[in-house]
């Protein structure tokens, strides 16, 4: 775990750049994290990001793509358009949450 500077903020991140401290995240930071992976946040992006933040607080784990889709009512297809390539990973990155556990 290392400390890095994003914008003017000092934050803790893991080897892949995912924030490791839930409370170090804020909405300004999200915009900067999104910009780093080439995404400009719109209302639709925010709907997904806010769901992820709230769900993590309730469940203690980063929601999977399917969970975002069913619980936040956003089709998976739309999530792929909003966060191209690897939506689950990109959403978690912008929301300042651990990468979702795919394995098991």
């Amino acid at each position: 775990m290392t400390v890095t500077t994003i914008g003017s903020a000092q934050v803790h991140v893991d080897a892949e750049g995912f924030l490791t401290e839930y409370d170090e995240w804020n909405e300004d930071l999200a915009g900067q994290l999104a910009a780093q992976i080439g995404i400009t946040l719109t209302d639709a992006h925010w709907k997904a990001i806010r769901f992820l933040r709230e769900d993590y607080q309730a469940m203690g784990e980063t929601a999977t793509l399917r969970r975002v889709s069913t619980q936040a009512g956003m089709p998976i297809k739309e999530l792929f358009q909003l966060f191209p390539g690897k939506p689950a990973k990109k959403m978690a990155y912008i929301a300042g949450l651990p990468k979702p556990v795919g394995c098991v």
């Binding site: 399917r66 969970r67 069913t70 619980q71 998976i76 297809k77 191209p84 690897k86 795919g102 098991v104």
Partner: protein
């Protein structure tokens, strides 16, 4: 009289009732288990059916035979759990009251959840092998398949026995080589994961094994639908993969009654504390085996190790004392790699599968994350252990908690899940 009700008489449910019947006084506790039929399926054996190694008679026994005296087996379809009334309703109108409920109804492949899967090509060019009839149909199709594109595919995680699709791929490759037609078949392994498996050390080893066998890997593939006419898998990001024979692992979901009862997550798994398996919503409901949402493999070995911890915890909880056992997510799986060899992996919530030896450090006899003949015989021998030791709840000399002894630490020891 206290009433323990267990839903599901499969691997986890059978072990739970057999272990608890020995611990709970017969004058103070009744134990009832509900299942829809009297067929206990040895699911790890399904993998071998497409290759003609096992047939139906190797994988089916009567549930009754494995449920100890003093436990009532009720056959019926579950309609829902009324947790407020502490009652389970069956579809035929019967009501079963409980003081404590254990949900052990597992997870089921759901081909209905992917558009086009259950279309005109189902069981013609599209197969699954996680159901007995699917595995049998696939055996016939594979025997007649001698050229073209064979695609092995996973819809989404989590799935039951997550290494089985890789094992199926390795066994298919070996069988095609034995038949002398491997060069006439293209094999592609299509997965929603970023690699062959998820945990890094294991994924790189298994990815290399695919490479070595000239099996193409298509990672990060989230299927949106199947076009049965064009015989194509189509992903959400609009990649297309054509097939002549598709062996798919449909979306896995917990039982629908769990959703109807308001006890499940988006895939009908019961949210529980991952160390005690107690429902996060109800203080008198546990979920064990594949039915819970714990973040480890959905596999019989997990159920086995979890039941060991659960038994003690249940007795404490029912006596109003704090639960002192903590399940660590311990899993171990044999992975068949073809040509009479196999690998073994052993891991938990916090430690990824590593190389080494098991269960005795430096000795084995089983090699971790490495191909050997002994591992293959371990896998075949496990069927005997399953029927004769595991289900009856007899002691197996393997500790429930994972051990680091005998495991090789990677340089950047991580693997935190």
């Amino acid at each position: 009289m206290q009433r323990l009700l267990v839903l599901g008489g499969g691997t986890a449910g059978t072990m739970v009732v057999n272990k608890l019947r020995r611990k709970l006084s017969r004058s103070q506790w009744t134990i009832t288990v509900v299942d829809r039929d009297d067929h206990h399926l040895y699911q790890p054996g399904f993998l071998f059916i497409p290759f003609g190694v096992y047939d139906e008679s190797d994988v089916i026994r009567s549930r009754h035979r494995f449920i100890t005296d003093g436990v009532e087996l009720v056959l019926g379809e579950i309609d829902r759990v009324d947790a407020d009334a502490s009652e389970v309703l069956l579809t035929d109108g019967r009501r079963l009251g409980y003081d404590y409920l254990v949900i052990a109804t597992g997870t089921t492949p759901r081909p209905d959840q992917t558009p086009g899967m259950l279309g005109p090509e189902w069981r013609k060019s599209i197969f699954d092998f996680y159901s007995l009839d699917g595995a049998q149909a696939l055996a016939r199709a594979l025997a007649g398949f001698d050229n073209g594109r064979l695609v092995v595919h996973i819809v989404d995680m989590p799935i039951k026995c997550p290494v089985a699709p890789l094992e199926f791929t390795f066994l298919t490759d070996a069988r095609l080589r034995q038949r002398g037609i491997r060069d006439r078949v293209d094999i592609t392994y299509v997965t929603p994961l970023p690699g062959a498996f998820t945990k890094p050390v294991c994924s790189s080893k298994l990815g290399w094994m695919l490479d070595e066998r000239k099996i193409a890997l298509e990672p990060d593939f989230m299927v949106e639908r199947i076009d049965p006419e064009a015989k194509k898998l189509i992903s959400y990001d609009e990649r297309e993969i054509g097939f002549d024979l598709l062996v798919t692992v449909p979306l896995n979901m917990g039982a629908d009654y769990i959703a109807r009862s308001g006890l499940g997550d988006e895939l009908n798994y019961v949210p529980v504390d991952k160390h005690t398996l107690l429902s996060t919503a109800r203080d008198n409901i546990f979920a064990i085996g594949d039915a819970s949402n714990i973040p480890t493999s959905k596999a019989g070995s997990v159920a086995h190790f979890a039941v060991d911890v659960f038994t003690g915890n249940f007795l404490q909880h029912a006596a109003g004392r704090p639960m002192t056992g903590s399940f660590d997510g311990h899993t171990n799986c044999f992975i068949e790699s073809g040509d009479g060899k196999g690998l073994l992996i052993d891991f938990n919530y916090d430690t990824e599968p590593l190389s080494g030896t098991y269960p005795v450090p430096g000795v084995g006899p089983f090699g971790l994350l490495r191909e050997s003949t002994v591992n293959h015989w371990g896998k075949l021998g496990f069927r005997w252990m399953y029927w004769h030791l595991l289900l009856p709840g007899r002691p197996i000399p393997l500790p429930a908690q994972m051990s680091m002894a005998g495991k090789h630490q990677p340089v950047s020891a991580g693997g935190k899940s």
